[in-house]
């Protein structure tokens, strides 16, 4: 068994235990330990990645990846859903930074604007509307904590091994000729990146863009209909307000 496989297995086990300890279990005990274990697992996992070209690239990638993954873990494990939403926003910023560094400037900005600007704010609105006062009991326990943590982290471990194996084999066999370097002027890294993306979007993929626009319109109408038809009906426990619409 090679050394890297042992380290990856160790990181997976550590991450599963750490995430289980961090998940809400009805008690606060062990959360800090879980965080430390998960952080150690993240460090082990990132240390096994192949080195990038330069030190600055490497450092930037490691910082952004750690921010994105650690914030995502916090978003999944915090007990207060408002904090979950805020951590999710920080994870989005990390992902946007990662996209920015590999030549997807427009997508990075679009992610921040659409996700952090619109979707996250909608989440917070719904939380303000629907969150009961105090900490709800269903936020303090989770389903099948150990099993869920094991499943999630084993998925990560298996995917990492598979990706590393396939890519290194392909690289050794010379099946992939990375086109990044020689055709910088015309592709993703071109100086006029956004103009080229727009050309591609409204040229080759025009029909897809139109369909996406129609889908957005249909979804908005559908959301309005759902809230009007299903939401206003008073529940048995809530007192019916005078003038409320009855079905």
């Amino acid at each position: 068994m090679p050394k890297s496989a042992i380290i990856l297995t160790l990181a997976t086990v550590l991450a599963a235990i750490g995430m289980w300890l961090m998940l809400p279990r009805g008690t606060r005990r062990g959360r800090m330990l879980g965080g430390l274990l998960a952080a150690a697992a993240l460090g082990l996992g990132l240390s096994q990645l192949p080195r990038l070209g330069s030190w600055s690239d490497e450092g930037l990638f490691l910082v952004l990846a750690a921010v994105a993954v650690a914030s995502a873990a916090a978003a999944v494990t915090f007990r207060n859903p408002v904090y979950c939403a805020i951590w999710f926003g920080q994870s989005l910023l990390g992902v946007a930074g990662l996209m920015l560094t590999i030549g997807a400037q427009f997508l990075a900005v679009a992610t921040v604007v659409v996700y952090a600007g619109a979707i996250l704010v909608t989440f917070l609105f719904v939380l303000m509307l629907a969150q009961p006062e105090g900490r709800a009991a269903y936020d303090r326990v989770s389903f099948e904590g150990p099993l869920a943590a094991a499943v999630g982290m084993v998925i990560v471990g298996v995917l990492s091994v598979a990706i590393g194996g396939v890519l290194s084999q392909a690289g050794v066999a010379g099946q992939v000729a990375p086109p990044g370097q020689e055709s910088v002027g015309s592709g993703v890294l071109a100086p006029q990146h956004v103009a080229r993306l727009g050309e591609e979007l409204f040229g080759r993929h025009l029909v897809a863009v139109e369909v996406a626009g129609t889908l957005l319109l249909a979804a908005l109408v559908g959301a309005a209909v759902i809230v009007r038809v299903a939401g206003i009906r008073p529940s048995s426990s809530a007192s019916a307000t005078p003038g409320a619409r009855t079905p």
């Binding site: 859903p81 999710f88 979707i119 982290m153 990560v156 592709g187 993306l197 979804a219 299903a230």
Partner: protein, 148 residues
């Protein structure tokens, strides 16, 4: 491993990490909004992988696909949050267990185990001294109710 291949490898693995964390959250959390947040984290992982492939093949197809993912995620957020609000009006909380009557007929019901009480803040809480007198508001103004 040459630098471009290493870049692809690293970004795919970060995408896989985000995906796995999203799976974990979706499987284990009980709050419907947090479950939905986990799905969004999974979408972020997939988007990151697509951007990495787009860089590797020097092709804009992956980035166009990510734009479409963002559009579909916005639709999904609108519909799902509308559904969550509707479900909240029916049951009065965001607990997914409140809807466990929809489970398969051969599954047992999920029962909550009793939780230890939350620690309460000890000691007297500060309060502000009253300042001024309460204003007099006419009765019809306090009972006014706009037509619903």
């Amino acid at each position: 491993m040459n630098p471009e291949l290493a870049l692809l490898n690293n970004y795919l693995i970060v995408g896989a990490m985000l995906f796995g964390i999203g799976v974990l959250g979706f499987l284990s959390r009980r709050n419907m909004i947090v479950m939905f947040l986990s799905v969004e984290i999974m979408l972020q992982g997939v988007s990151l992988s697509l951007v990495a492939w787009s860089r590797f093949h020097n092709d804009f197809g992956g980035q166009v696909l990510v734009l479409l993912i963002i559009a579909v995620a916005a639709c999904e957020a609108a519909i799902a949050l509308a559904l969550v609000v509707a479900l909240f009006h029916r049951r009065g909380n965001l607990d997914i267990v409140a809807w466990q009557a929809l489970r398969e007929s051969n599954l047992e019901a999920y029962h909550d185990r009793p939780l230890p009480a939350e620690p309460v803040i000890a000691g007297p809480l500060p309060h502000l001294p009253p300042a001024g007198t309460a204003p007099e508001i006419p009765r019809e103004q306090t009972e006014h109710r706009s037509k619903l």
